[in-house]
């Protein structure tokens, strides 16, 4: 098992490095496709030296760094720190994330982007700048699968 552990660690390292090298050029959808190569948010980590756009996973969502900062100096996680972290959405229904409220213009759903409702239904946005889900604004959404 020890050899397998080393293999998986090496695989994670190479996958992570590959994504890191091209993350800045990827769309949110592409980032979420490679979510497994994205590290978990670390509330003790210093993100000061990382470039804008650096992704993390947290709370079942993928977030991109908007303002480099030291997370140890802030209370809360990306979902609470929306000025520091931007929410990623995907256009791939198979990868749709649970609904997350936008904060101002941050995290609004654009045309083609999807979310998965509590009952498992995946909805696709039919227009830009959506801040309400299908329950509140059904005309702006279609069932994606």
């Amino acid at each position: 098992m020890g050899v397998m552990i080393d293999i998986f660690r090496s695989l994670g390292l190479s996958d992570g490095q590959a994504l890191r090298a091209e993350a800045a050029s990827l769309t949110d959808t592409q980032l979420i496709e490679r979510e497994r190569c994205i590290p978990a948010f670390d509330p003790a980590k210093d993100y000061t030296g990382l470039p804008v756009g650096t992704p993390v996973q947290d709370g079942g969502q993928v977030w991109k760094l908007l303002q480099p900062h030291n997370a140890a100096h802030y209370e809360g996680r990306p979902a609470d720190l929306r000025a520091l972290w931007g929410l990623c959405h995907t256009k791939n229904p198979a990868r749709a994330k649970p609904w997350m409220d936008a904060l101002g213009t941050s995290g609004m759903y654009m045309a083609g982007e999807c979310y998965r409702a509590d009952d498992g239904t995946v909805y696709r946005a039919l227009q830009d700048n959506l801040v309400h889900g299908a329950a509140a604004l059904p005309s702006a959404w279609e069932v994606a699968e």
Partner: protein, 95 residues
């Protein structure tokens, strides 16, 4: 039909020579069953001048450690360890 055979101390066949051939030291001549299958040599015994089929009991299934739930838990633990190792590598890549 007779053939030359050899047996172990219990009479179970350990060698058989096709008709017209010999087994060598320790051989005996025995009456062979019509449907003798040389591929199942150890399933035959030599009794009173004749070879008869007496199959060995099927080998018992090797015992596996633990019951199904325990094995499942072990597999899940192994997968979790691999996942944790992968995630550790990812963290390192982004450090």
């Amino acid at each position: 039909m007779t053939s030359y055979i050899k047996t172990d101390e219990t009479g179970r066949l350990t060698a058989w020579a096709a008709p017209g051939f010999r087994c060598g030291d320790g051989e005996v001549e025995a009456v062979m069953p019509e449907d003798f299958d040389p591929g199942r040599l150890s399933d035959y015994v030599y009794q009173g001048g004749a070879v008869v089929l007496d199959p060995l009991p099927a080998p018992e299934e090797p015992e596996r450690p633990g019951n199904t739930e325990q094995r499942l838990a072990a597999v899940e633990a192994e997968l979790a360890a691999y996942k944790a190792a992968y995630e550790e590598g990812v963290r390192e890549a982004w450090a």
